[in-house]
Symmetry: D2
Subunit: 303 residues, 4 copies
């Protein structure tokens, strides 16, 4: 995370930020957005980046970005959980165009030892893995069972290897048809933390602004389609500072003018140790619950 950057990994919020910054009322050029609020428990937003223009404006590749938002996501109400699992499964099938014979490799990104970053690894622990059964326990397979495998690659700081290189190596040896990656994300709106799931068909490029193509988990780089499933679990401190600053700018014309001339984010944060995250108090329970929902959604989609 850049030290002074208002960061978000949600296409939904990138679009909101762009519209706010440019004061445009209409849709972003090259982008189409469909909102479905027909189910009172969920808000479904589909942001489609349709052209290079849209991709450049939002800083994200052409493709579909679907977010499922629900204030009830961590309430563990069985009926809502079941609707949510079904919705996750449908969305995965929708964006991936997966067919029955496609084999799938699922990758749990993130750091097992940092609670808000452990979503990906935790999802892997609940998946129905089948790829090895053909050889070791064929009696457990029904006809047409899909080959499903999964790995937890670790993070650069503890492996010393780009995650994309680990995955490339495994793809070369095991030849899956489709990749699904799960990751914890950052969001700008605190109310979206742990209450939003984004599913897209464009993969993941770690570090949004950075043009480090080699490390991105995309079809271009890995050679197979990549579905990315993410949940925002942290907010950056610059986001919180920005909310306070925006409040003052609205109330005081003088302050607004003064702040235009200042790199206020840097002024406020430059003497701070910058390795903090803002995360829910109950992040342990939240991660366990979300991992269960997403893994059941994936199991359902790949059945």
């Amino acid at each position: 995370m850049e030290k002074y950057e208002i960061r978000t990994d949600l296409a939904l919020e990138t679009r909101e930020l762009y519209k706010k910054a440019t004061h445009i009322e209409d849709e972003v050029p090259g982008v189409q957005t469909i909102v479905d609020d027909s189910n009172p428990n969920f808000l479904i937003t589909k942001v489609q980046i349709l052209s290079e223009e849209g991709a450049n404006l939002l800083g994200k590749p052409i493709g579909d970005y679907i977010t499922i938002e629900s204030p009830y996501m961590n309430d563990e109400v069985e009926s809502i959980d079941n609707e949510l699992i079904t919705k996750i499964a449908e969305t995965i099938k929708d964006v991936s165009h997966i067919i029955k014979k496609d084999s799938v490799l699922v990758v749990g990104l993130g750091n097992t030892d940092v609670t808000p970053d452990a979503l990906g690894p935790k999802v892997i622990n609940h998946l129905n893995i089948t790829r090895h059964l053909a050889q070791y326990a064929p009696e457990l397979l029904s006809e047409n069972t899909r080959e499903i495998s999964a790995v937890i690659p670790g993070v650069l700081g503890t492996t010393g290897i780009e995650t994309s290189d680990i995955i490339k190596g495994i793809i070369n040896e095991t030849a899956p048809d489709i990749l699904i990656v799960i990751d914890a994300l950052a969001a700008k709106d605190m109310n979206r933390i742990s209450r939003t799931i984004q599913i897209c068909n464009t993969g993941i490029t770690p570090g949004s602004g950075v043009k480090n193509n080699r490390s991105s988990l995309t079809k271009e780089n890995l050679g197979i389609p990549v579905v990315a499933i993410g949940v925002p679990t942290v907010v950056g401190i610059p986001t919180i500072i920005d909310e306070a600053i925006s409040y003052v700018r609205e109330k005081s014309a003088e302050a607004d003018t003064v702040l235009n001339e200042k790199n206020y984010m840097q002024d406020i944060l430059e003497n701070k140790q910058f390795d903090f995250m803002v995360t829910p108090n109950t992040i342990d329970d939240i991660i366990s619950n979300l991992a269960r929902l997403i893994s059941e959604g994936i199991n359902e989609a790949l059945k």
Copy 2:
């Protein structure tokens, strides 16, 4: 934590906040402060609240509050760690006036499942416990071995019992001479997070402003002296907002005036889900390291 409150559990910061709010240059009445910066690796500050006046002004009981601050606290440099352990041990002995025959009960406060709150329970796991040896393994005891016992009482939300009631019950059955409690704290200054240890001889009153005497862990309530050891591991979001607001107020007289009339903290936070904490990214490692340092310090002090 109160929703809109700038919170700190450090006497050091309470004093700073009081002086800033009242614009006094001199020492707070009824308070004496001694700073020791003779060791370049550590800054030792002893805030002594000497009278009821000082206690009322700072909202903390009469007693000694010593903080050990070091930017190197999590660097795992063996020589600095050893100095730190010795300093912790000396400070515990200094504030407690413990004598050789005193038996000690150590209590690890906090929630094991919430990483930044798990400091207390983790310290307990590393202590040298001796109380049961007299009966079960007397051959392991040297003469004059002190009786040391320890408990992890849990938190109100998972036990349904005031922590003070659990401890009172155990004190009644086991009759220790001195209580040592360890807890994770909140601080106002992000640079103090995980780099400061506060040791005091006044116990702990959960929820600073609240007058809930029954739940406080103090000599008054428990009947024996209480040494409290704490490390700030989280900062509140109001603190971060306040830093941004202060920045603007300094730059713009108009903003300063406008904000005087506003309950800005409430305005900014009222629509937020308020169950967030701001904590270092590497809090897992930090808690493990601090638990090791503090437990070795306690073991050394009680040897």
Copy 3:
């Protein structure tokens, strides 16, 4: 666990061992046993020790010991799990004679850091705790909500305090009407490990043969009725040796005669490091699953 002892904590097995050792066909004097195999998924056995004679012969206090056995206990089949939860709830109510107004303290015995011993602490984490709500969140209470509290007292080796003393102290402060304790047990039959739940109304006396009344968790010692819920999770090595020895004795009369004159268990084990346990490979998953089932059973019983 005694080093050379065939150990079991199940009244069911104590009775089997007694009958085998004494070659009696009929029921043990002072004992009554009722077997219910009407549900094909479960075997319910109720061993009632009715008199001092029965208590002396089986080395267990007068009272009811009900075991629920099922080969499907860890299969996570929802319908069987639900039947099992209902059966646990019914049995708790049956042996405890609990009434609506009784407040309950639940105690999770065992060592969190030793997987097969962590059953008790894990059950506590899933319980519906209510005791604190009357004071802190009365709006969450419906009328007649029972007061439920829970503690994880730790083990003697890490606390230095008899678990019974910790519990006595907490009972004195909080005055519950009934105590429920959960513990991991040892069994003699490997096929019962993790597939059997014993529920009794006589409490627990740690260390069967030892007469250490002070440390027992019983009505006599604690002053309130004690329901104990246990699952065998380990088998002792002497049990496995005994199975091998029994096999040979059946096949060879000479071996049978020779072994009568030998303290073979001591001969075989005396040079061994004796701190081993025999436990299922998948004990982590098993403990998680059993903790879930038992906590839901308790929640149901106390509703």
Copy 4:
């Protein structure tokens, strides 16, 4: 683990078993063994399999197998730990013939969720990883810093992928010069559990008897030298039964004759659920301690 098999992964014990079974007094043909008991704290045994004959007789590839045994391995005595770390480092350098410029990939085999199998993953967490620094933090590198990377590949049951395929893929992408694998082992002698470290230069072939070359982690299969570091953490139940049976056979000629005609291991175990492991009670602490020692030994060797 084969259900009825006396299993060991230690070359030392394979040799002992062969000598006992064949009643030979001299060295096994094609094998040379050097014992070093000059340091009273350690017993070092170097079993060198020198020819195909030796390899066939012991069922292990030609190469060097060094075991470091110490009764003090888990006592956490600093001076002994330091000697042990030095000995591990020397042995790694000795069997690998590593030179300064060789890059190294370290692989932590085993299942993180099964305590006695988690040694490999835990070692990885303590290693000094450098491979990524050249690109991301060159200022942290001194000249001639060796490239060190590490992965935790998971186990077949949770990945669906042969571990050897995962490692092959990563080797293809990252081109290390030498592989070091760490794994938990089985031993025959309970007194060697957690007190023995085996270091060899022949890699690992999971499932000793099975000829599944594709899954072996060897130079032949992976293309680079493979150093394997292992510690026995479990004993099989057949081993314990065999000790009891051996005892009876020595005492009774009739039993010895009778047992010759019986497949006693199968008779005794066939109705058992066979997914048990025999492991020390304190395996959690033991694994943490061994992981620390081995990782420091590797760090020292690769410095």
